[in-house]
């Protein structure tokens, strides 16, 4: 029977791999996800064939868990996806922690019949608990920040790195002693200490990271949740846990790398610098001049005359829930024989691909969504760029102001378009507290107001004329 189960696990692994492969294109992605789900279903069914299972606990757990999961999946707003993914990362981490703990407790209780715990098992048990605990509490902090329950600002205090370093050192010390004698009562005490330290470390390592750096943090925690499952797989030597966990781990690492590259910062800089906690004082000069505000009517005439319009959405679009009206405006423009596309910066929003999902929700076809590297080379021929709730990702200082904190970050070069319309509530600087020279450009018109209301006004203008 065990042979049959393990062979079925291979099939599950193949389905996971093909499922991820089919995520390579929007056309096949949905089928891919379903294939992956089929693989999971197969794994669950064959696991039930294991001898000597206590079904009442399994059924209870599955029923409660899936009910919550289904409810959350049906109810969640697309603008709240970052929060949901953060929460799910955390649950994954906690599940792995609990599994490792359950196994360890069971081992201690059965000790009379078993040989001493091998050091390898002790080490992977420790890793499972450490990664799982950090993933859980870190994700809860990320969730709190994303949903606005705690401050989005980076929380920094003097000696923070020292504190974090000391916590990590304490964890490693406890782990070393634990791995030397895992089977004793003292070993169990250390185990609990490690659990607590891991939970604490997740909090202290996530609070110094500010809101706009969340795409990196979520990706990283996503990776951790996979690695936690992987470590749990080592504990119970289950190959499918290792394969699936490693796939997720690799996925998170790649996303983290892409996000860091899109901000031109190293991972260490994102994790430790507390970026955004202090408003940048150095970049006062240069980004001054006269702002040219525009009325709804002005903007309407500019758009009406344009041959090509590129929308550049940012987190402000999600906050204002403006995705549907933007699509409506886009369709009106298309009817007016204007070429419309949407240029999306990799770190726009609060998680990778956030803007794409919002626009897809509003029925924008995915072939109108273009990436930064595709739009920049033909920016000179674009008539109008409409920047909605984006700031740092269109700041030309990243290209030409060496003193700017975001210097070197790749941006969507909207300032090269013939006309730029910037939708903004007020002249407050963006997340990083950096002045944006784009707003003072000769070809820039500022269209002040709430993004949703402003676009609605434009839509009304188009319909009336």
């Amino acid at each position: 029977m065990s042979l049959f189960i393990n062979f079925s696990y291979i099939i599950s692994a193949i389905l996971f791999i093909f499922g991820l492969k089919m995520l390579g294109s929007p056309a096949t992605a949905r089928r891919g996800n379903q294939l992956s789900a089929l693989g999971m279903l197969l794994a669950i069914v064959v696991t039930l064939l294991n001898a000597g299972l206590d079904y009442k606990w399994i059924i209870l757990g599955i029923l409660v868990g899936s009910a919550i999961g289904v409810y959350a999946a049906v109810k969640v707003e697309m603008t709240a996806m970052p929060e949901m993914v953060a929460l799910f990362n955390g649950f994954g981490g906690l599940a792995s922690l609990f599994l490792a703990w359950a196994e360890y407790h069971q081992f201690l209780m059965d000790k009379a019949e078993l040989p001493e715990m091998p050091t390898f098992i002790a080490i992977v048990t420790f890793l499972s608990v450490l990664i799982g605990g950090v993933t859980f509490s870190g994700s809860m902090v990320a969730f709190g920040k994303l949903s606005g329950k705690i401050t989005q600002k980076a929380v920094v205090f003097t000696g923070q790195h020292l504190v974090n370093g000391a916590i990590l050192a304490a964890a490693l010390l406890a782990a070393a002693v634990f791995c030397a004698n895992p089977g004793s009562g003292f070993g169990y005490f250390l185990f609990i200490v490690i659990v607590l330290i891991s939970l604490g470390f997740g909090v202290t390592s996530t609070i110094p990271i500010g809101g706009a750096d969340m795409p990196v943090v979520i990706s990283l925690l996503n990776s951790y949740s996979g690695l936690a499952a992987c470590a749990a797989g080592f504990v119970i030597s289950n190959k499918l846990l290792i394969v699936a966990g490693a796939l997720v781990g690799a996925s998170g690492i790649i996303l983290t790398k892409i996000m860091c590259k899109a901000m031109n910062r190293s991972l260490a800089n994102v994790l430790f610098s507390g970026f955004g906690s202090t408003t940048a004082k150095s970049s006062g000069q240069g980004a001054q001049g006269e702002v040219r505000p525009a009325s709804t009517e002005d903007v309407y005439y500019i758009l009406e005359a344009a041959d090509s319009v590129v929308f550049v959405p940012g987190y402000g679009l999600a906050v204002a829930q403006a995705q549907h009206v933007v699509r409506e405006l886009g369709e009106l423009l298309e009817k007016n024989d204007t070429e419309v596309s949407y240029a999306i910066h990799p770190v726009a929003g609060r998680m990778p691909g956030h803007m794409n999902v919002l626009l897809a929700e509003a029925n924008v076809p995915y072939d109108q969504l273009v990436e930064m590297d595709d739009i920049n080379p033909r920016m000179d021929s674009v008539d109008v760029c409409v920047v909605i709730g984006a700031n740092d990702v269109v700041n030309p200082a990243a290209l030409n102001d060496k003193s700017s904190p975001i210097y070197g970050m790749p941006i969507i070069e909207t300032h090269r378009a013939r006309t730029v319309i910037v939708l903004k509530r007020s002249m407050n600087p963006g997340f990083a507290g950096i002045e944006n020279a784009l707003f003072f450009g000769d070809n820039t018109r500022m269209y002040f107001g709430d993004a949703k209301e402003s676009i609605q006004a434009l839509v009304a203008q188009f319909k009336n004329n």
Partner: protein, 100 residues
């Protein structure tokens, strides 16, 4: 020896994962993340297998909690990913007449 063999699987899968994921376009990064949330719910089968009949009280409690948490990930993750991917449509289905 088991340790070496498991580590082998781990390392090779990481490389496979790098190859697979680097081909996912940035448009699909959010579904990729929620989909991998679901896959990391694989802890579910480990937790299920740990719930043996002769299990001790605390282990049963922890195991059941692990099953429930992982099941949230599996059910919620796959479902919300499907919901999202359903919304990704090509041009002809959504805009009427205004092509090019």
């Amino acid at each position: 020896m088991e340790a070496v063999y498991l580590s082998f699987i781990f390392v090779l899968t990481i490389f496979l994962g790098f190859e697979l994921i680097s081909k996912v376009p940035s448009t699909l990064h959010t579904p990729l993340m929620s989909g991998s949330n679901a896959i990391s719910g694989i802890t579910l089968i480990g937790a299920m297998a740990s719930l043996q009949t002769e299990i001790h009280g605390l282990s049963a409690l922890l195991g059941t909690l692990a099953v429930a948490l992982a099941a949230i990930n599996v059910a919620g993750g796959y479902l919300v990913t499907d919901r999202m991917l359903e919304m990704f449509k090509k041009k002809e289905t959504s805009s009427e007449g205004g092509d090019k």
